[in-house]
Symmetry: C2
Subunit: 187 residues, 2 copies
């Protein structure tokens, strides 16, 4: 019998990812050092990096989990519903702030940027597909190219994350999302 | 005769602010250490902090310069023109990224947040006043409260900064701004 079963392996990976998410949320991307990851996860760096190659691999895996969950909602109900879900979950704001903290790295580190794009591809594809269906159903405004609408919604998502992470009132931001929603609909 | 004239004082302050802006742009808010500020500015920490109390004071002074410049454009031509100016000045993207890097601090550090709000007040006031005039002239949509429109435009500005700092194509973002502009106009 193997000493480590698949269940144990999955549980250990889960423990590492959950701890890493808390650590990034608390300290931010840059300040989530290996030492702090050890403390928050409750495992040695040897044990952590046996499962995930390095800090960035951990970060990308968490981003991938987000993207999967968001793609599921975006595909069924659209990217604006993804944003409404964000407003309803204030406990996530600190984690969301890490999305902003990597902007400089995305711009200056091509390898990091490619990896991030790969992990976010699922969400982009789901959004594109949803917009295509909305357009076919005559619910999307047709005077603006679909990829401009998609870029607009992605920009609004980043703006929403920035305002939430800065401490803006979620209720006021909800009213803004109503305006955004109206602005992409067929009048 | 005084040893340090007003002209000398102004030139020294300018040297410090310009160097600090380059330093923040290159390293980001957190990693712009006092040592790096010394190197980029070309003065000792003693000389620098004789003119500005600490790193945050320097940062707020730069933010205040931005806000003044942006308020001037926003008051005359609106916040969307401020954003178009951003797209036209790629050399500023790295500095703009620092706006995102302080989001976590804005949320978790009330004193920092108050100081930031005070330095940005001029821009908010100019935007509010411009929207009021646009509404009176019948150019602003009137089915959405004016402060929701303002929050919307501020959110779009943050989103634009995030997309620029992440390396998005400015031309594509220009088309997005056209959509944003149409969405706040009276149809």
């Amino acid at each position: 019998m193997p000493r480590v079963t698949d269940d144990h392996l999955a549980a250990r990976r889960r423990q590492i990812l959950d701890g890493a998410r808390r650590c990034f949320a608390q300290y931010g991307y840059e300040s989530a050092t290996v030492r702090r990851l050890e403390e928050t996860i409750g495992l040695s760096r040897g044990a952590i990096f046996h499962h995930f190659r390095d800090k960035d691999t951990l970060f990308f895996e968490l981003a991938h989990e987000d993207a999967e969950r968001m793609a599921d909602v975006a595909g069924r109900e659209g990217l604006i519903q993804v944003m409404r879900d964000m407003l309803a979950a204030p406990e996530q704001f600190d984690w969301l702030a890490t999305r902003l903290e990597i902007a400089r790295k995305l711009r200056n580190d091509p390898a990091f940027s490619r990896e991030w794009a790969a992990r976010s591809a699922e969400l982009s594809a789901a959004t594109t597909e949803r917009l295509r269906r909305q357009e076919q159903a005559g619910r999307l405004r047709d005077d603006v190219p679909r990829d401009v609408v998609r870029t607009y919604l992605e920009l609004v998502l980043d703006g929403l994350v920035a305002r939430l992470a800065s401490g803006d009132d979620p209720e006021k931001l909800g009213a803004v999302l109503d305006l955004v929603e109206a602005s992409v609909r067929q009048p």
